[in-house]
């Protein structure tokens, strides 16, 4: 029963919930530690990869690993309560054991980005898949030129990682622009008001020697890409991470098949140039 470092790849690790953080209405972050310390020793992943998280008896759900590989000894995931598994997950407390199997999928090629300016653009619950690579790059800050983060959500309450946003905002080496949709602001909101593509147009980052990493709901992606194109970004400079429905995570169950590509094996990280080659089924 093997084939993944001697493990049956469908058998989850036992993970103990070390910390629960309420991020936004219906959104939580779990910090997970390996129940068997020996497994933590051999476990390794890289920014952009994902896993299958399970509540035994309810099933498995797929999310990215939201913490960076530069922080050892644990992984974090952030999820919105939406269906059977995520509702069961949301009911778990610190100390409970859940399952995790992974890491799966490809990575953000952050080594290739050394010396470049990084532009992160995220909307809503799509910041978690980017948090891993943001922290990974910030933990290796001297390898990169300017770092800009544009993050928007429907309302102030819906912004995730509020503490980290505050920290990033205070850092001198990160330019952070937070925004909420018109009508989503509160009286004391200090950030911007407007949709992410609009804010991107206002900020107008330069395209030269820059990598844009974009993740958000389909409508945000659709409206953001033309703005990037107008700013001079080529499809090879733009990265995103897809979130197709998945079950196996290892290229067999057929769910995430888009054209000849398996999002779980060939992705989830794709450049816009690669996406342009695929049928529009993601």
């Amino acid at each position: 029963m093997n084939n993944n470092n001697g493990r049956n790849q469908y058998t989850p690790y036992r993970m103990r919930i070390a910390k629960v953080t309420d991020e936004a209405p219906g959104v939580k972050t779990f910090r997970l530690e390996f129940a068997e310390p020996a497994e933590a020793e051999t476990f390794a992943f890289r920014a952009g990869q994902f896993g299958e998280y399970s509540v035994y008896g309810e099933g498995e759900s797929v999310f990215c690993i939201a913490s960076p590989p530069t922080r050892k000894g644990y992984i974090e995931c952030t999820f919105r309560q939406a269906g059977r598994v995520t509702s069961a997950l949301a009911d778990r407390d610190e100390g409970d054991v859940i399952g995790f199997r992974g890491p799966y999928g490809n990575i953000f090629p952050i080594e290739q980005w050394h010396g470049k300016t990084l532009l992160f653009i995220a909307g809503g619950i799509a910041l978690p898949p980017m948090r891993c690579v943001i922290w990974n790059c910030l933990d290796l800050r001297d390898k990169y030129d300017d770092v800009t983060i544009i993050y928007g959500a429907r309302s102030v309450a819906d912004l995730v990682y509020k503490n980290e946003l505050a920290d990033w905002g205070k850092r001198g080496d990160v330019k952070l622009y937070t925004t909420v949709d018109p009508g989503g602001q509160t009286p004391d909101w200090k950030g911007r008001v407007g949709f992410v593509p609009t804010i991107l147009e206002q900020v107008a980052p330069k395209a030269e020697n820059t990598i844009a990493i974009v993740c958000g709901p389909p409508i945000m992606i659709k409206l953001t890409m033309p703005v990037l194109a107008k700013l001079g970004f080529t499809p090879n400079q733009i990265y995103t991470t897809l979130e197709n429905r998945m079950k196996c995570g290892v290229g067999k169950c057929g769910r995430c098949n888009v054209g000849k590509v398996f999002v779980c094996k060939d992705g989830p990280v794709f450049t816009l140039a690669q996406l342009n080659e695929l049928p529009p089924e993601y």
Binding site: M1, N2, N3, N4, N8, Q9, Y10, T11, P12, R14, S54, Y56, G57, E58, G59, E60, R80, A82, G83, T86, D93, G95, D96, V97, I98, G99, P217, P218, E243, N244, R245, K247, C248, V250, G251, K252, C253, G254, R255, N257, V258, G259, K260, K265, P279, E281, Y282
Partner: protein, 339 residues
């Protein structure tokens, strides 16, 4: 050149008994009402004879409809899980036609193309296939359009061809086939230069799979083509459940208060839920897109990515379809459609 033997039809019972006595699970076509499927048998009396095609394919021998993967125990804050070992008995599959025998190559490609599979591979390694040539086909058969044929030996360890009412020509094709002969050597008489072609069914080719694969990418954006073919599809998923090469699966838990089982079970790209995101977004939102995926996957994506066709031309999907969609016909029509 394979070795030829003669096996008397009346010896089948003894063969089943000897294989069973040697520790094999023997799967053979068994009739149950109007359905015909591969079931475990210990005596030849139940084995069905004289069928064009079984209702269900033989893929469950290596990829069961439901397969337990893990057993978990719930205890307060803690949970423990243990792996459930897959079926480990050596299995002799008796009676699949050459189309079904060929399907194992497609399943193997899916389950091993990148990483292995702890539940599929052990069963495949212990599978011996005694195929049965076709002496008759029907209007649904199109094996000759997808590289097969009524007497094709691919995928069989022994291929039996009924020469007349009493005897089979047995082509012993592999070491696994020779191992079966070694278990019952007296049942296999020597044969000299028997020709099987005269008894085989005649299946006229409808299209060329390679040409279809070349045409499909250009047909992808032609929404009207896919809509016209699938307008009557009710999305029942029958086609996938009877298909010998469909391998898409789901993973589901069943539990009570104290624990339960995690299972792998068949699924279908024809179901809307298959790709539905938690957000409500569905990449393949309508049935015509799902029909397109089914055809593209079998005739374009799998050949390009895995080097295998996703169809063996058994015709089951069309025989089972409640609204009489016909894959052979539809793919033939795609060959003619304007790109």
């Amino acid at each position: 050149m394979s070795e030829q033997k003669i096996l008397q039809k009346k010896s089948l019972g003894e063969l089943v008994q000897k294989l069973t006595a040697a520790g094999n699970r023997v799967l053979a076509p068994v009739r149950s009402g109007e359905q015909l499927g591969f079931e475990e048998v210990t005596s030849p009396r139940k084995v069905a004879d004289d069928y064009i095609q079984t209702t269900r394919s033989a893929k469950a021998a290596v990829f069961p409809r439901y397969e337990p993967m893990l057993r978990f125990t719930l205890a307060g804050k803690d949970v423990s899980a243990e792996e459930i070992a897959p079926e480990s008995r050596p299995t002799v599959l008796f009676g699949p036609h050459p189309c079904d025998a060929a399907s194992f190559a497609t399943l193997t490609a899916v389950f091993t193309w990148d990483s292995g599979d702890a539940y599929f591979e052990p069963k495949l390694a212990k599978l011996t296939v005694i195929g049965l040539s076709c002496t008759k086909g029907d209007a649904y058969c199109f094996c000759t359009s997808v590289g097969g044929g009524p007497g094709d030996t691919r995928g069989s360890d022994i291929l039996l061809t009924p020469l007349d009412a009493n005897q089979y020509l047995a082509e012993i094709l592999t070491d696994k086939g020779r191992a079966v002969v070694a278990i019952a050597p007296t049942l296999f008489a020597n044969a000299n230069g028997q020709a099987k072609d005269r008894v085989l069914a005649k299946i006229a080719p409808r299209f060329t799979a390679k040409k279809i694969a070349e045409r499909l990418p250009a047909l992808f954006p032609k929404k009207e083509v896919w809509l016209e073919q699938s307008l009557r599809c009710v999305g029942c998923g029958c086609c996938a459940y009877v298909c010998p090469t469909c391998s898409c699966f789901d993973i589901q838990d069943e539990r009570d208060r104290y624990g339960g089982v995690r299972m792998r079970c068949w699924d279908s790209c024809g179901f809307g839920l298959f790709t539905l995101h938690a957000s409500g977004h569905n990449p393949r939102a309508v049935q015509s897109e799902r029909w397109r995926q089914r055809v593209m996957h079998k005739f374009s994506y799998q050949p390009e990515r895995l080097g295998v066709l996703g169809c063996v031309g058994c015709g089951r999907c069309s025989r089972s379809c409640p609204v009489d969609m016909n894959l052979g016909e539809h793919v033939g029509a795609l060959a003619e459609a304007k790109a």
